[in-house]
Symmetry: C2
Subunit: 459 residues, 2 copies
């Protein structure tokens, strides 16, 4: 980043005020999937509304009609003479902070250490979202030309965006835009700016096997009563072949494989296995091992176990046969997988492979959202490349992201906007993990990206 | 039980005092595997010492030299003119009471409801052990003839009795006896008294798979990083064949199969599948399904998962790839399995079948104790049958127990005593489970058994 950029100057001149307002957001445990935190979500929405109003936006807060009433902030600011409309999407909700004991600082008390702010949501997405909005604020205050700007900031991204997905078609006209801007992604591993060419979709399913009505004595009943922990292991073991390839019939039928160009570009910025191991502590041996890791993450679906529990999970021994076992699954989906069909294929597989003696049941079902992929020849990507070259001498890379922003495919479809996802996250930010953090240098990068791309779209 | 039996009369006449002393024991959370409860164990041992001294026993408390210093109560009372020596074994430690929220009454506040006392340990073994000791007390107070009596009550039965097993050979001479009496088992399902012809041995092993150094974002890393929850499922799924038979090479090589007579007697008191389902809530489809349930429990080993956990175990979704997964295993062993060789076979199997990408490690290793089986022609069984016919018109059944009392095989070997295990537990007691309880009628049965068998052995 240029040392004298407009955005950096603005950040430095207003640093105390910026951090104060940002920390206020970070202090709210905005768990959009937990009804005990609806108040925190409402407070976050109110703070955002006030900020945006002060910037001259017309703002309204809409509450989803079904599911949890987690407020969605919708704002709009037309610009005189502008023919381009951008829609910025962000989210104020966060992942749970457990395990609490793994945090070095309190997750909801932002702590600045060596230029990085530690807090749940510091990056994902309260950091990048807030920095992007500040870029808009800086441009407005400086009287710079702007496109028409629409903004959606919601509170259910981490749990599937069901409220916004339900709402979006009904307010399609209001959301209509040319470009959909999102800053909720990362740079390349070597720090080069990255343009996101695709995101995976996501869906969730929790499966429980019930055996006896209560935990049994493992001596009296051992070898007699069916053990749900063992049954669950047998069942989960059927989800993938030995090669790591998904073994669920019908799940992957519709996967569109990448083009030769996509494969080449994707591999060009792939970390080596050793670099990966150094960063996260193990070799990239998950998923379908015959494929390169970057291709697995970018172009192939997953069925992962996010949580698994049965019986005695405390210290020491307890000789029981558990009465039940539960596995929390999430699936990442790629074009053109149909989210209804993948979910149905998975349920059918689990029911068909359930070992004898158990009652199988499903809960926490989130049909979720499909993935999307844009052709890299898209004109909006050319514009983005030019802007990013102003920020970094190195040309940006394309990334086919393994992660999901569930509502992006819906917003693309409903608003007609071309998604442009550029973010400045890094692996060290540890999003979704204990000790999430965001560097103030990254914060300023997002601000700079915001000012530059909006100026470039102000026509 | 005869309505006018000596033991019942004693119980009824001293009911208030008996319950008061028993409840004092039940109120102590004597978790012998948890060093935070060493004080409770010491208090229980002191109460027992005081009681036994008052009955005329010479009592000492010995603390194991290695492992946790959980006190062992050893007592002795010679009887003038008696040539028979019995050794009574019991334990004052209990299983953990979790999950606490599943209890209807506080686990360490004994609560009498409809003739049953609800508390952790109410049956196993503070109930049966204390009732047996009261039988001795009643006989002494009445001046009845008695054999020489030795008593061991320890506090590590639920965690493998390592202290006592280490100590026993050193004090073999002191423990020398003709008969080893234990009341820590159950009646037949139809209520007939049961003589325990065998117990299984037990050992424990906890296995952990580590992947990344921290929980990862399941989108960014999904299909790339190895998922320990999936790896653990694959690993545990290798422990048993589809038939339910143990698949660990070398684990079952030394199993001595039952004789034709043992099989017939064992099957003669087997519950039907439907009775089993009615009682515990599922069909007996665990273990090797080609064998009858009673044979599986009595004559075959198990490898069970008592606890399993990985990643997000709370409410809602959290899209992580867990950094580790842990399974707590316990094994039940039968004659002539060698406990060193079964443990080593299991470790070798787990290491050999660990999927790629994980570091495997073992903890909470308890080599444990072997199983034992007595020939049903044993003379002590004939004596017991005669005594039990005084208590119930129906002849007692023989039970080949699935459960373990780890130290029994050691005490048998060290003391030369013939084990005679008769207890009056029932499935409804829910030992090791929430809402453990013991009926006052069962309590009086144990007292009666104690008085009758000791009178029969007073020669």
């Amino acid at each position: 980043m240029s040392k004298t950029s407009f955005a950096l100057t603005y950040f430095n001149e207003n640093r105390a005020t910026i951090l104060e307002e940002w920390y206020t957001l970070l202090r709210l445990p905005t768990l959009g999937a937990d009804q005990n935190h609806l108040g925190d979500c409402a407070r976050a929405a109110a703070i955002l509304k006030k900020s945006l109003k002060a910037m001259g936006f017309a703002v309204e807060i809409i509450t989803p009609e079904s599911g949890l009433p987690v407020p969605i902030v919708i704002a709009e600011r037309p610009a005189t003479g502008a023919s381009t409309t951008v829609l910025f999407y962000g989210h104020y909700d966060v992942q749970p902070a457990d395990p609490a004991e793994a945090w070095n600082t309190p997750p909801y008390e932002p702590t600045l250490i060596d230029g990085r702010v530690y807090a749940r949501g510091a990056q994902d997405n309260k950091g990048q979202m807030f920095a992007f909005l500040l870029g808009i604020k800086a441009l407005i205050e400086a009287g710079k030309p702007l496109p028409n700007i629409k903004i959606i900031v919601e509170g259910q991204e981490e749990s599937g965006s069901s409220g916004l997905m339900e709402l979006a078609p009904a307010i399609a006209k209001k959301l209509r835009a040319d470009v959909l801007l999102v800053s909720d992604t990362s740079c390349a591993a070597d720090g080069r700016p990255a343009i996101i060419a695709s995101l995976r979709g996501i869906q969730n399913l929790t499966v429980t096997l019930k055996g006896a009505d209560y935990d049994l004595h493992s001596g009296v009943h051992g070898g007699v009563a069916p053990n749900p922990a063992i049954g669950m292991a047998k069942l989960l073991a059927t989800l993938h072949h030995e090669s790591g390839r998904i073994a669920v019939a019908g799940f992957s039928d519709e996967v569109v494989l990448p083009s030769k160009e996509e494969i080449e570009l994707s591999l060009s910025s792939q970390q080596s296995e050793r670099e990966y191991q150094k960063e996260i502590g193990c070799l990239p041996l998950g998923g379908e091992r015959a494929l390169e890791p970057a291709l697995r993450a970018g172009f192939h679906p997953t069925i992962e176990v996010n949580g698994l529990f049965s019986g005695h999970c405390g210290h020491g021994t307890k000789t029981v046969i558990p009465s039940s076992a539960t596995a929390k699954l999430s699936m990442r989906l790629v074009p053109d997988q149909n989210i209804e069909r993948t979910l149905s294929a998975l349920k059918t597989h689990l029911e068909a492979h359930c070992p004898p003696g158990f009652q199988i049941s499903f809960s926490e079902i989130v049909t979720g959202a499909p993935g999307f992929r844009l052709p890299i020849s898209s004109p909006i990507f050319k514009l983005a490349e030019d802007v990013l070259l102003e920020m970094d001498d190195r040309p940006p890379v394309f990334r086919w992201e393994g992660a999901s922003i569930p509502v992006v495919a819906t917003l693309q479809k409903v608003t007609g906007a071309a998604p442009l996802l550029v973010g400045f996250g890094r692996e060290e930010d540890k999003i979704h993990c204990p000790n999430e953090s965001f560097g103030l240098d990254q914060f300023a990068q997002v601000m700079e990206w915001s000012t530059l791309i909006l100026e470039a779209l102000a026509f």
